[in-house]
Symmetry: D2
Subunit: 333 residues, 4 copies
């Protein structure tokens, strides 16, 4: 399968390249970047020297579309929708890592991203790509909205519990902590080493853009569920840990059984009861580790993942594997 | 005022020494340590070379008691109670940094620390030393139980809100994150650099020893309040940040007014409404920063402090200042 | 003594403010910044909330000159020389933390900084401010060129050894490592958390701007000494460690005696023979620790300091103390 | 190829397991550990949950020897020699990651490790396993002494330059910096998070055990070359950077040509002339990056590698690949 990575110079592009190099069925054909066109990707990421010395080309989609089977879009939200439209119209596989097609309700998208959605019809066609939950839809589509990193860490453990009415949906708090790579590659005051190192703090209290995505997917079509979600910035490169507080409407065994049953045949989900997940054990992998603990009716769920792999590029390839009929783990172990 | 630091080689001892060197009324007379007796403290902490080169002496209390006015006890719980008894019997000022006298209810102490309390009568005489809350009692005593680091970060913001019935006491979650110095100076697998660095995880879910302390102090004498408390280990040296979730029984203005009124004349409490506290701004200081935010009836409180200063040695000196009639900020700015 | 900090929003300004707040004879009158004028310094550094809430004013020197005794210039090189000229002409004490007056040889300055020096006559009047070495000149001047951070770590141990002809001046290698705060507060790709964290690398091999400063000061007036100097970027906030390799022309005892004699009465220099200096022991202090080791004729010197304190703001205040007749340690312990 | 990892619970064992899982020709048969026998390796490294849940067995070599083709010895020096002897006597492939067979001169080994070598005859049979330098010998042996991490970073760039007499062998300084995993998995005061984090320091000045190994291998059989080697401890998990200072006896082009020629067909060596190697670009890979820079006759060489991969387990597998006739990169990309 011949692929292009559109907007390849960011951290998600870099991770996609490394996964693609190990993937038995993927052939990297194009890496694009307007700002870094004509540079070698290995000049930007010397890690790749000798492994991938491809030259970046500008975002001229017409010149590449006939020569590829699939694209990964690593563009900012807003910019991504045009690229998605172009490649969808050419009947290519589109894995969009931006937020542009994650919330199929146009009003919620627009109020969250302060952006008019140009292709509301297309919005309905994209499938929200958590392979463990929406595999049936993923296998039937060529258009994937790749989930946000925080939402993956929260939706994956909660979705089956909510669907099976095992927890109190009026009471869900997700206290999430993310490494700095989640903020992207562009240097800002907030990602300056001396500001982050030896520090820790929450941000976006009550107003982070991933909150509507979490609520929308967890609500499904019938219920206005709201998660109280607080992200924090961890002084590490990689990983998210979400500590989720809720109340059980059932006993713990049923809750654990539900998670175990849902994910028993899923190669990238690991359930903990006694031990506690930690970021170290999932960093640089496509795993999501989920721990579940109870004291009377208080339930605490701890989930960990690598924000750039299971929270972005790894899950993107997992989606591609699934819709293409490859082995789900190809390139990801 | 002539003081001794009993068990001076740990991190809290080290911080006490540095504060004492800057304090206008404190004279360091003795530093004790059984395991490091006859060593210089500056061989253990070369930072102190030229500043404090005192030689450590063994824990022979009889030989020093006549020559001091006050002791800081930096011993493990269990070991601390005998020292406290000895110096209390000699009518000295005792600031106990261990947990031995924090919970004046013997049964709760014993079930929490799996330890028989040898001096239950003395237990009643110690004052729980949060100067901003219990100043009247502190000024009248010579016996201080210096609070735990996590409890300080949680009790200080919540106490006035609970007392004034502004929040729902059935619903309090404290998701706390601490730097590694909170685990002490002894090397263990859990504090090995490679295990902690680039990692993050919760521990003691539903069973941390500070939980009964938090509940006991916040409950006062009349109510069985329970806080759901989860500590996490941050890959930094210093600092605690607690993200506290509760429901308001009032409007936000009243809640903020309550905190501002309670702490308006307190030199080490700073209240935030728009900006968000961060560990960096309180590290190496005796400040506790408290931010408060609301969305409908959901209230989030963020508090930060340095676990070794406001969470231990700084608060210990603040207590000494208060009960001795010194200026509250002496040695602490 | 009434002082102004010109360009107060950078890291050296922040450190100067904290030192000034503890200094018995300094009164902060003005903090200036063109880009942040009208903001409170405590909005930029919330650490200062309640300690120093002064409002920044623009760089209008005429409006402040009559009301101050001394200025600290925390401006970029090039920009600093005009401010220095202005305050020197008004007969004020000027402590310039930039590089503009460090190299009194105009040609070397200009070839190093690719900048025409506007005030070559003034250049001769500034004293290079390492108090331990040039105290006699410092006490007689009002104009101080505050040394660079790397040069302080290298010149201070080597100067007496070279002057006393104890080491081979044809063979001096300084392998230096600095924390990220040395690169300043402005976010760049090189100081992005994810680029620095878990990384380590040299930079400016054979061409760092501090090399001519080191060579010029160590050469004195008569000899063209050259140090091979390689700076590296450490993934920490604060501190410099220089590992210096040279050959002895004498025995180690003489070398150690020379350093001990030179610095015996200097409160901020600590000499090590057996133990090894480490950054931790000097971070957040004005100390420079110097260790010296020998194997046959190979000599290794290890020096550590805090780049923002002894390497910048602390040394600046130490210079002010010295030329003002204050106690050398005022504000610095 | 059926392999056993003897002493599998340390960091080098963990890395070997991860490489083995990806290797097309290796089948992990046994993981041994006396202290952790009967535990699952995935309980010690939860990272491996679902990937490798093998149970550790005790070091009973008789019970496993008939069922394996090769062993990796991850034992402490001293302990390793008995195991090596046993498996060598059974004609198995032995890759010894300890120091026991690196220095084929018994006297130097014994004076360095303060340990009598029990099998001096076997000492001569082991090949020092830097595949890029000693491939001819490696292909002919079944007994590999896997090099130390620091020595690999220093020998690999210097060996061809010394052999071709391009640099001054009387003047070689290697200032090396290593991440903490080089100190192993056992918690000690020196690897306590709070002691290492935000710190940096040299250790083993003039007396590190890797110095004789470096000198011995670089000297070859005819010359008593001595490198001045100083290791430092970096506050990061992984990686070594060596900054090597020497004098050229030739021009830079010849030096670069020599390195390029020597390593042109070596898949894991990358040469830099303008850009500068950094640890980040080789961490978690089997690459060694080498940069070379010159100013007059001063030459600086910068080499970087991952201490656990190219500096230990990766190189071990590379040696196995080479002597087994596998592709050199198998399992390592």
């Amino acid at each position: 399968m011949k692929i292009a990575i559109i907007g390849a110079t960011g951290y998600t592009g870099f991770e996609l390249i490394k996964i693609a190099l190990r993937h038995p069925h993927i052939k990297l054909k194009y890496l694009t970047s307007d700002s870094s066109a004509d540079k070698k990707i290995s000049d930007i990421y010397p890690h790749l020297k000798g492994l991938c010395d491809m030259t970046l080309i500008p975002n001229d989609f017409n010149s590449i579309v006939s020569d590829i089977d699939a694209v990964f879009l690593c563009l900012p939200h807003g910019a991504s929708m045009d690229a998605a439209k172009f490649f969808a119209d050419h009947n290519k596989i589109v894995i969009d890592l931006s937020a542009d097609f994650r919330i199929s309700n146009r009003e919620i998208y627009e109020s969250t991203y302060k952006e008019t959605h140009k292709y509301p019809d297309l919005l309905k066609e994209f499938v929200y790509g958590i392979p463990e939950l929406f595999g049936d839809d993923i296998r039937k589509t060529k258009l994937i909205a790749n989930p946000g990193c925080y939402p993956t860490s929260i939706i994956l453990p909660l979705y089956p519990l909510i669907k099976n009415e095992l927890i109190d949906t009026d009471f869900i708090i997700a206290d999430s902590k993310s490494g700095v790579s989640g903020a992207g590659k562009n240097p800002t005051e907030k990602t300056h080493f001396c500001e982050v190192n030896e520090d820790f703090k929450p941000y976006g209290i009550f107003n982070h853009r991933h909150n509507p995505e979490i609520d929308f997917i967890l609500s499904g079509s019938y219920k206005n569920l709201h998660v109280t979600f607080t992200p924090h910035l961890l002084p590490i490169n990689r990983g998210i840990l979400s500590t989720i507080y809720t109340k059980s409407k059932s006993n713990l065994n049923l809750i654990i059984k539900c998670l175990r049953d849902t994910y028993s045949d899923k190669p990238f989900v690991r359930i903990y009861e006694k031990d506690i997940p930690s970021i170290k054990n999932v960093a640089y992998t496509n795993f999501i580790d989920i721990g579940i603990y109870k004291d009377k009716d208080n339930v605490i769920i701890v989930s960990t993942l690598d924000n750039l792999i299971k929270g972005a590029s790894g899950q993107a390839v997992q989606n591609l594997n699934m819709l293409s009929g490859f082995k789900e783990t190809d390139g990801l172990l």
